[in-house]
């Protein structure tokens, strides 16, 4: 059951992602993107990461995609400009290299239990691991400083984007 769901949603995530990069129409791309985010969220759920899955939908599918669609509409970019210039060689080479990268990643990742930091998460906590309560316990104790730093980053992002997009002198 879980495996079926995993393969199904994974496959759909891959397909929708492919559609993002293949679609001619920018708005279509954006919509495929939303779909892709949803399937990703399902994958997170399958990993028992409920909070992250919900964030994924709220932040990505909600906020970021709103930005993007808003920008597309504002800039009137539904169609990509016509291909007048030949495709650069670097792009072809880059694609070839990406194939290599994919296999290298497979060789390196698949079948290996990659050692990482062993966390303070006990077996008992595992059941409720993705819950907000567990995460927030860590977030507001051990990860308080990064959390605050991120808030500063977000503030800087707001100020920066307002400054950049302001009419007039930029």
């Amino acid at each position: 059951m879980e495996l079926t769901l995993l393969i199904l949603c994974g496959g759909l995530a891959v397909i929708t992602s492919l559609m993002v990069i293949l679609a001619r129409n920018t708005v279509h791309s954006a919509l495929w993107m939303v779909a892709s985010f949803f399937f990703m969220a399902v994958l997170y759920l399958l990993l028992r990461m409920e909070f992250i899955a919900i964030l994924q939908i709220i932040v990505y599918a909600g906020a970021i995609m709103m930005f993007i669609i808003y920008a597309i509409m504002m800039l009137n970019l539904r169609q990509e400009t016509a291909d007048t210039e030949p495709v650069r060689k670097s792009k072809v080479v880059g694609l070839g290299m990406l194939v290599v990268l994919f296999f290298v990643l497979l060789v390196l990742g698949v079948g290996r239990g990659i050692e990482a930091l062993k966390g303070p998460v006990t077996d008992q906590m595992m059941e409720k691991f993705g819950h907000v309560a567990v995460l927030s316990n860590f977030l507001f104790s051990d990860y308080l400083l990064p959390f605050e730093v991120v808030s500063i980053l977000l503030t800087a992002g707001i100020v920066g984007s307002v400054f950049l997009a302001k009419k007039g002198k930029a």
Binding site: R88, S90, K91, V93, G94, M97, L98, V100, L101, V104, L105, V107, L108
Partner: protein, 667 residues
């Protein structure tokens, strides 16, 4: 008790600072302040020297040694070198006559340089700088400080030879002196280092005389010989011996007081001083002593022979100086260090006098130096004539004057000392005869007969001012009485001069080993000096008579040739044409050096310049620049400005890193 010894070099140094930095303004304001400062500085040095000298005379001979350390000069690991001065009979003797004669020449320069506008202060600055360096050379208690003075006097010599540098010949002469001296200095440095390292092997890391000399017995004989020869090679340049004497005759391009001070009385004798200072080293190496003696004797003869045919009054004196320096080295080489130093002393009196007299003559002749255009000056410049005549008698070795005692002692030692030989004596004696001849030739050509100068010059002939004649008279007196310091035993004297130097010179090889066995450094034993053993009193009288006879013959020939039958020189020159040409052209030594050394050197230098430097080194440097430029112009294309190209290169990098990581965990 001699803690104020540092005043001796400091006075001239102050003179240098005042005249060097403010001289131009002072000279504009009042010229006489310049020479008052300069002469005053040297005069005060002389005064302090006198005080120390006589204070030292009051001490027992074995206590006549004192070292005063001013400050730490070079401090690095085992090498600790101090600016420190050593007071002992030898250094004080040198210092006495260097500051004394130097003072007289400073005074003389006031008159001689009076007409040199605008450069007056510079001349006195250089002279004071020279005095400072020379005093450092003499008083130093270690080889490094001595070398500082050694280089300093060389530099001053260069500056003063080329003092009238607007004429190219003078500048060239200065350059020649400087470069020739560099050759010698190189050997001196190497010698110092060999000595330093050689002693260092035995744990004595020092340049200080009082530490080096008592330990030289630790060195192997070959090292000692090597050091001695290297030091002597340094001396051949500084003291104008074969083969590096060539710069001294050309050095006469400088003002005459300079010739008198630097190139006759003081600087050129520093080589003699250095050998005398290192007498312990030389005593350990009979071979090196032999070299010194032979080179000295040959130089004496060779230079005298050139002097026979020169017409420039200063050139004659220059070759005479080279020849007399040869005598001094002959004396040192046969182990008669005190005799050599004695000749240094007397020579400084009469040779300085001769040069200053010649300067007076040149002054009178409105700058003319060719003796063929002189003559008859006896009546017009009487003081110059009388004083120069005394000096000439002294240098010719006429009994009763200073030169006789010193020269005769050297000749006697050349014959009788354990290191001596009959041939050395013969060479010296022949050279003495030549000396008498050419010196009287100079006198006769200059002061006798009628004047051969052009009309307008003749009108100007006058006796020199007091500033010039007074030093002449003082030196004339010294030239007469200077010899009585060291009347030998054979003539009923007690040879005080030798006794005075004994604490320094008495260190024969036996003494050193005695010292090594626990004796005292300044222990003086009776009869330790080589002069002490007399083979035969009769022989001494005989040789003395012979050398006086040779001198008299030389004088007589000069009289015949240049006063009585004045067409004789021409005839002789005709008859012995080849010989005359050789002598007149100084045996073509300069030409030989040009051919053998300078030309190939130029060739090599040109090769290094045009091939090695321009093509290879510049080519390498420019080539690197060109390769980088070309490489950049190619690599520039990678930076396309397209952000996606950069993304591709990031992917490449990622793949490369991952592959590397994979290979690492796989391997």
């Amino acid at each position: 008790m001699f803690d104020y010894v540092w005043l001796i070099p400091v006075f001239p140094a102050i003179g240098v600072l005042i005249n060097g930095f403010l001289g131009k303004r002072i000279e504009k304001f009042n010229k006489s302040i310049v020479h008052w400062v300069a002469c005053g500085a040297v005069g005060l040095s002389f005064l302090v020297t006198c005080i120390i000298f006589f204070q030292m005379l009051g001490l027992e001979p074995e206590h006549r040694f004192y070292e005063f350390t001013c400050f730490n000069w070079i401090s690095g690991g085992v090498l600790q070198t101090y600016v420190a001065y050593q007071i002992d009979p030898l250094s004080m003797l040198m210092c006495m006559f260097v500051t004394g004669v130097g003072f007289l020449i400073h005074v003389y320069s006031i008159g001689y340089m009076a007409h040199d506008e605008g450069r007056y202060y510079r001349f006195f600055t250089y002279l004071n700088l020279f005095m400072f360096s020379m005093i450092n050379l003499i008083l130093a208690n270690n080889f490094l400080l001595m070398f500082l003075g050694w280089e300093g006097v060389g530099m001053c010599s260069y500056l003063l030879i080329g003092f009238w540098f607007s004429e190219e010949a003078n500048a060239v002469a200065g350059k020649k002196a400087f470069i020739t001296n560099r050759v010698g200095d190189f050997f001196f440095i190497v010698g110092m280092l060999v000595l330093f390292c050689g002693l260092g092997e035995h744990g004595v890391w020092s340049f200080q005389f009082s530490r080096v000399f008592p330990n030289v017995h630790l060195l192997s004989p070959n090292t000692v010989t090597l050091v001695c020869l290297l030091f002597f090679a340094g001396c051949t340049a500084k003291s104008a011996q074969i083969p590096l004497y060539i710069w001294l005759p050309d050095a006469m391009a400088g003002p005459t007081p300079v010739s008198a001070l630097i190139h006759a009385a003081t600087m050129v004798t520093s080589g003699v001083y250095m050998v005398a200072r290192s007498n312990i080293l030389y005593s350990l190496s009979p071979f090196a002593m032999g070299v010194v003696a032979v080179v000295g004797a040959l130089t004496a003869l060779f230079a005298a022979s050139i002097g026979l045919a020169q017409n420039d009054i200063k050139k004659v004196l220059a070759y005479s100086t080279v020849s007399q320096l040869g005598y001094m080295f002959l004396g040192l080489g046969v182990g008669a260090y005190a005799a050599g130093m004695f000749h240094v002393l007397t020579h400084s009196f009469f040779k300085a006098l001769l040069f200053m007299g010649a300067g007076s003559v040149i002054h009178a002749m409105s700058g003319e130096q060719d003796m063929r255009l002189m003559g008859g000056l006896r009546k017009k410049t009487p003081i110059t004539f009388i004083t120069m005549f005394i000096a000439t008698l002294a240098i010719a070795g006429i009994p009763g004057l200073s030169g006789f005692f010193s020269k005769d002692e050297i000749l006697w030692q050349a014959y009788s000392s354990p290191h001596g030989h009959f041939l050395l004596w013969l060479t010296g004696a022949v050279a003495a005869g030549m000396t008498a001849f050419y010196m009287f030739r100079l006198i006769f050509m200059t002061f006798y007969n009628e004047n051969r100068a052009p009309e307008d010059v003749q009108h100007h002939i006058h006796e020199s001012p007091k500033a010039m004649t007074v030093p002449l008279m003082v030196l004339a007196v010294l030239s007469v009485i200077g010899g009585y310091l060291g009347v030998p035993h054979a003539l009923g004297g007690s040879n005080r001069f030798h006794k005075f130097l004994d604490p320094v010179m008495g260190m024969g090889p036996d003494k050193i080993f005695q010292k090594a066995a626990g004796g005292s450094l300044h222990h003086v034993a009776e009869g330790s000096h080589v002069a002490a053993h007399h083979p035969s009193l009769f022989m001494e009288y005989l040789l003395m008579a012979v050398s006086v006879a040779i001198a008299l013959i030389g004088i007589y020939i000069a009289y015949v040739m240049y006063v009585k039958k004045r067409d004789l020189p021409e005839k002789l020159a005709e008859k012995f044409r080849l010989l005359h040409r050789m002598l007149f052209n100084k045996w073509y030594v300069d030409e030989l050096y040009t051919l053998v050394i300078i030309r190939p050197f130029h060739g090599i230098s040109n090769f290094f310049w045009k091939i090695i430097d321009v093509i290879m080194i510049d080519g390498m440097v420019n080539g690197v620049a060109r390769v980088v430029g070309w490489g950049s112009s190619v690599l520039r294309l990678i930076q396309s400005g397209y952000v996606q190209c950069y993304a591709v290169s990031i992917i490449f990098g990622t793949v490369a890193l991952l592959v590397y990581y994979f290979l690492k965990i796989a391997g």
